[in-house]
Symmetry: C2
Subunit: 342 residues, 2 copies
C-alpha cells in the first residue's frame, strides 16, 4: 500500500526486511504470511518495515517452495470474439473473489498454439487451467502433469474431466423447429469444420428437428467452414447458389455476421427473401434491421461456472468425481425470421 522501495535495483527480500527489523527471515516469513506464531510486537515491526520498503513476495520462490502457484491458466480460442471475451470476464470474476490470478493465453483455434500455451502453464506449475479445447492432446497432457482442467463451452478430452457446456442439441433443435414452424423446408446450416461438440450438438439438433418434421436431411444444405477461413463468405455464397435455401441457421456469432454480410451484398431482404437465425446473442444483433432471431446462451455464466468448478476441484482434490454442468440456451425470436416467399 505504500511507495516504491528506495533501491529500485535489487528487489527487497524477506531477508532485507528481517534484518531491518532485527529478526530472522523465518520470523519475517511467519509474520507476513500469517502462519505460525509471532509475537505481537515483532509482527507489527515486521509489517511496518515491509510496508515501508514496498516488499512484494517473490512469486517464483513461493511457487518453487510450495510447488504450486496461485495463478490459473485460461486458454481461449479467439480473444477478439465477444463470446470468448464474455467467458473470460465470467471466469475472472469468480477467480478474483477466490484470490486467484487469471492468466490468459489465446490459441487461434490452432492446436499447436494451444499446446504451446499449455506448455507454459505446466511450466508455471499452474494448479489448474480452464480451456475451450481445440485439440484433444492439451487436456490429456495437462491432466498427465497433475493439473486440474475444466473444459468450457465444448468438450474434447477422452479423459474424464470437469466441464461446463450448454445444451447445444436443444439450441439447434429449437432454432430449426422455429424455422420449420414458419414453413421453411430448405434450411441451410452454417457450421464449423471441426470435431467440436458445440457444432456437433447443434447439427444434431438440426437433424432431429428435421426428422421430427418429416423433412429429409440434405447434406448439400450444410456447410462446414474451417475456423478462421479467409473465404468464409465465398463459401456461404456458394451454398446460397447451389442449394437455394430459404433460411440460414448460423451456428455461431461470427458465421451469423458473415452470413448477414453476404445476404446484404446480394441484395436479399431479411426475412422476405431469406430468414436468418444465429447462435449466441451479441450486441449488433439488435442494432441491425431487422434484428436477428438468435439462440441466446448464458455466456458469462458459462465462464463463472467453469471457474467455480475449477475452484471446487482445487479444494476437493482429484478424487472428486468429474462434474459436467449443462446450461440451457434459449431462443429469442426477433425480426430476421419469417414465412418464406411462395
Amino acid at each position: 500500500m505504500t511507495m516504491a522501495p528506495e533501491s529500485p535495483l535489487r528487489p527487497v527480500t524477506l531477508a532485507d526486511i528481517a534484518r531491518e527489523a532485527g529478526t530472522s527471515a523465518s520470523t519475517a516469513s511467519r509474520a507476513l504470511s500469517g502462519r505460525g506464531y509471532v509475537s505481537e510486537s515483532a509482527r507489527d515491526r515486521l509489517l511496518a518495515v515491509a510496508d515501508r520498503l514496498g516488499y512484494v513476495p517473490n512469486a517464483s520462490a513461493q511457487t518453487l517452495k510450495k510447488r504450486r502457484s496461485r495463478v490459473v491458466g485460461v486458454v481461449l480460442s479467439a480473444l477478439d470474439n465477444q463470446f470468448y471475451a464474455g467467458l473470460a470476464a465470467g471466469i475472472e470474476q469468480v477467480l478474483r473473489e477466490a484470490n486467484y490470478q487469471m492468466v490468459l493465453v489465446g490459441d487461434n483455434s490452432d492446436p499447436a498454439e494451444e499446446l504451446a500455451g499449455v506448455r507454459t502453464f505446466i511450466a508455471m506449475r499452474t494448479p489448474g487451467v480452464i480451456m475451450t479445447p481445440v485439440g484433444a492432446d492439451a487436456s490429456r497432457i495437462l491432466l498427465g502433469h497433475g493439473a486440474a482442467v475444466v473444459e468450457v463451452d465444448r468438450r474434447l478430452s477422452d479423459e474424464p474431466c470437469d466441464a461446463v457446456v450448454i445444451d447445444n442439441e436443444r439450441g439447434g433443435r429449437e432454432a430449426t423447429m422455429h424455422l420449420v414452424g414458419q414453413g421453411h423446408r430448405r434450411i441451410a446450416l452454417l457450421g464449423v469444420d471441426t470435431d467440436w461438440t458445440t457444432d456437433a450438438g447443434r447439427l444434431n439438433g438440426y437433424r432431429t428437428a428435421l426428422k421430427n418434421s418429416g423433412i429429409p436431411f440434405d447434406r448439400r444444405l450444410v456447410a462446414s467452414i474451417p475456423v478462421r477461413a479467409l473465404d468464409t463468405e465465398a463459401r456461404i455464397e456458394a451454398l446460397l447458389d447451389s442449394a437455394s435455401p430459404t433460411a440460414f441457421f448460423a451456428a455461431n456469432n461470427e458465421l451469423a455476421e458473415r452470413a448477414w454480410h453476404v445476404l446484404r451484398r446480394r441484395g436479399l431482404r431479411i426475412p422476405t427473401d431469406i430468414s436468418l437465425v444465429g447462435f449466441d446473442d451479441v450486441p449488433w444483433m439488435v442494432m441491425v434491421d431487422p434484428p436477428i432471431t438468435v439462440v441466446d446462451q448464458p455466456t458469462l455464466e458459462l465462464g463463472r461456472s467453469a471457474a467455480r468448478l475449477l475452484l471446487r476441484r482445487l479444494n476437493g482434490g482429484p478424487t472428486l468425481a468429474p462434474a459436467v454442468e449443462v446450461l440451457q440456451p434459449h431462443l429469442v425470436i426477433r425480426g430476421s425470421t419469417g414465412f418464406p416467399r411462395a
Copy 2:
C-alpha cells in the same frame, strides 16, 4: 513433443533426466538450454530422455535463478471491449514472435484493480508490462521496481516511459471539422469523465475545430460520463434534451453505441434529425443503417507498436531514451453525418 510422463505425481526434474542419462544436472541443463559445451552423444541422450519423460522446465526455478521471467504483463481496462481486445491481439502477435509469453489481466477501469494486477506482475518478476493506464500510481510503482513499462493508447505517468498513442487531437479536430463543414453548430461531445489523455486530446481537437470555425464553445454541449456508468444512456438523453444538439461526436466506440441506441429509442432519424460520428471503428458501425461516420484508429498496430517498444527496451536497457510513438487516426465518412435540418 511427446506423451505425458509416467509418474503424474511428481513432476520430472532436470535431476531426473540427468540420472536417467547418466550425467550430472549441469550437463543436462547445458544440453537442454543449448548454452555451453556438451558432447554430441551426451546431448542426444539427454534430449531423448527429456522427450521420453515429458520434461518441462520449472519456470519458477528458472525465474528464481535468472531473476527475470519471460512473461510480459498486459493490463487492459476492459477485456470485453473490441478496442482493448484488438490491442491485446496486436501485442500478443509480436510478443509471440519474440518468444515471450503474454499474461493478461483486466482492471475494470478501476485503479485499485489495476494496482492489484501490477502487484502480481512485480511478484512474478515480470521484466516489463504494457498497460492502458487508469491510475498514475501503477506505472510509477512498476518503474520503481525496475520493470519496464510502456503505456499504450493513453498516457498517465509523470515518470518518463515509453508509450504509443494516437493523435487524438487531430482525430477530434477532423471529426468536428467534418460536422462543421456540413453546417452543424451545436455539436455535442460525448466523452469520458477521467483524466485520460485520449479524451483530453479529443476534446482539444473539438475545441480547436470550433474556434477555427468561429463557433463559440458551449460547455453544456459536452458530457463527461463516468466509465462503466450505469446511467450512461440517461445522461445522453439529458444532454439531448437540455442542449438540443444537431450532432453527436462520441469519443469512443462504447459511447457511440449508447448514443445510437438513445437516438433510435427517441425515434430520431440519422442523419436527418441528428448526425452521429464515432471514434474507433468497430464492426457494427457498417452494419447499421445508415453506417456510422467514424474516426478510425489503427488498433492492432497500436498493440504491435507497444510490444515492439517493450522488446526494444528489454534489449536496450533503461539507458535508452523514452520513446513515444504517435500513430495517425483517419476520418471515414459514411452515412451517419449530413446537413442538419433547417
